[in-house]
Amino acid sequence: MAVAALKNDTLSPDRQVLFDYAVMLGDTALIHGQRLSEWTSHAPTVELDIALGNQALDLIGQARMFLEYAGKVEEAGRDEDALAFLRDGFDFRNLLIVELPNGDFGHTMARQFIMGVYSSLLYEALSASQDDQLAGIAKKAVKEQRYHARHGGEWLVRLGDGTEESHARAQRGLDELWPYTHELFTTDPVESAAAELGFGVDPSGLRAEWDGLVDDVLARAGLSRPEDDWQPDGGKRGEHTENLGYILAELQFLQRAYPGAEW
């Protein structure tokens, strides 16, 4: 059972769901963007450095829009930075898959592909949200995520087909990440409430299409779909891997070391 979050008690239950839902989307984008930005200056080519940096930039941009909006909904004076830099791990609601270390380039491309396909489907559905703000953010984000899916998918095909080593590395990345893909499609109470209220998406409905798109690229890449055995989850309710604490230590360092300063 997750610890109860600190709440603005005056917020109506519906607004609380909207806040939690926007935070959930913002956190996944933020932690993913943070991880991806670690590639800067380490990529296999300068061209890839630019491509990965652009994708990190997209994710940070999405995180800013969701978190800024969450802050407005909450009406407790928190902006995107207060939410990003001044919460502890158990209040983060990101998917576990985005907090895992980057691994090698094959591992990173597998994650970009998995998350790109998932987020494209999610944001496509969210574009029809009855909440104009969420719909607007989703419409912008869906284009970006389709690019991440395409870029990641093309690289999985190259690596899967390329050399014995690249095939093995891509397969290993996929195998390591696979257990964490199940959480993408679990329905948290916040998500089911948001879906019922007409502004959110129940992600369990995205599974079939995701499976089809993923299987198609895996077939082209000559990679095999891993077994569905271990299925860790918890990110959506604030139960994280040990990685998140280190990510936050780095992310939040300046805000924590110099409380109240403006940057």
Partner: protein, 320 residues
């Protein structure tokens, strides 16, 4: 090609007149070997600087203090990588390959700007680099937009637009820090203290001590002398530092009424040469970092090539 001595002399005269007339040399035009060599050296060195320059600033991306700053810094570092690519392509038009240039950088044969061999221990370094290093780079590069070699001049026009945005972004970081808490102001002053002299040295030795300056000026590659460029930078930057309320780390800095310029103290060139020769605080780290990214990426580049070859083979087989 079989050129007689007379042809070369005539071509040389044509070339000198052509550049003196402010016309642009394009890749297919005849050019003296030494001109080509000078440009290859200068442009590839410039490209390497952009790529190595990603490291000191990349160092703060994961720790940027706000999401807006994080996005701004990520975008800036992407721009620098993009500058590296434009410049590598400009150099390729002179007949040198990207692989040769990569080898030149990794083997230590080629140089890159020494400024990137200094560390970025605090967030204020990100402000100071944008303000001072990009500021000095623009001062250097604006005249290069009029360089006689067309592809380089055009690359510089694109680069300069982005550099001036970087410079403003850096200055804005410094402004926020220097008008912030006492701790932030101290951080800003510390960064200025460490970056000022290296930035002043970015313009290179005085022209009278610079081996290549005179020839480059005659070829219209270089348009303004090192000392004049340095003076422009100093005059502009001293006023900006005043506005920040920060103190320049130079007790001899003063306005010279007669010259209409600021005078600065004696530059310690021994420090400059130490860093150029490989013994700055981060020379080894920067090259090792680049080498590791290159080595770690080898299997990826091999895979892309193998896949491309297999596709061609499959297409040929299917067509047969």
């Amino acid at each position: 090609m079989n050129e007689t001595t007379r042809d070369v002399v005539e071509l040389g005269q044509w070339f000198d007149a052509y550049v003196a007339d402010e016309k642009k040399i394009e890749p297919k035009d005849w050019m003296p070997d030494a001109y080509r060599k000078t440009l290859v050296r200068q442009i590839s060195q410039h490209a390497h600087s952009e790529v190595i320059g990603m490291q000191p600033e990349g160092n703060w991306i994961t720790r940027a203090p706000t999401l807006r700053r994080k996005a701004g810094l990520l975008a800036k570092v992407q721009d620098e990588a993009g500058h590296g690519l434009y410049l590598y392509s400009a150099a390729e038009t002179l007949g040198v390959s990207r692989g040769q240039m990569d080898d030149g950088l990794l083997s230590g044969k080629d140089k890159y700007s020494s400024i990137f061999n200094y560390p970025t221990p605090t967030w204020a370094d990100i402000g100071a680099i944008g303000w001072l290093v990009d500021g000095a780079a623009i001062t250097n590069q604006i005249p290069l937009c009029r360089c006689s070699y067309g592809p380089y001049a055009r690359a510089m026009i694109r680069v300069c637009k982005e550099e001036s945005f970087h410079q403003r972004q850096g200055y804005e970081i410094m402004l926020r820090l220097s008008h912030g808490t006492a701790e932030q102001k101290r951080m800003a002053q510390d960064a200025l203290n460490r970056w000022w002299w290296p930035a002043v040295m970015m313009f290179g030795p005085s022209d009278k001590d610079s081996a290549h300056s005179a020839q480059s000026m005659a070829w219209r590659i270089k348009r303004v002398s090192n000392d004049d460029l340095r003076q422009r930078f100093v005059d502009m930057t001293v006023k900006q530092a005043d506005y920040l309320g920060l103190t320049m780390p130079d007790p001899d800095l003063k306005w010279n009424e007669e010259r209409g310029h600021y005078d600065i103290g004696e530059i310690d060139w021994s420090d400059f040469w130490k860093v150029v020769k490989g013994n700055g605080p981060c020379n080894r780290q920067r090259l090792a970092h680049r080498q590791k990214a290159h080595d770690d990426g080898e299997w990826v580049r091999d895979a892309a090539l193998a896949h491309a070859n297999k596709r061609v083979a499959r297409a040929t087989r299917d067509a047969a």
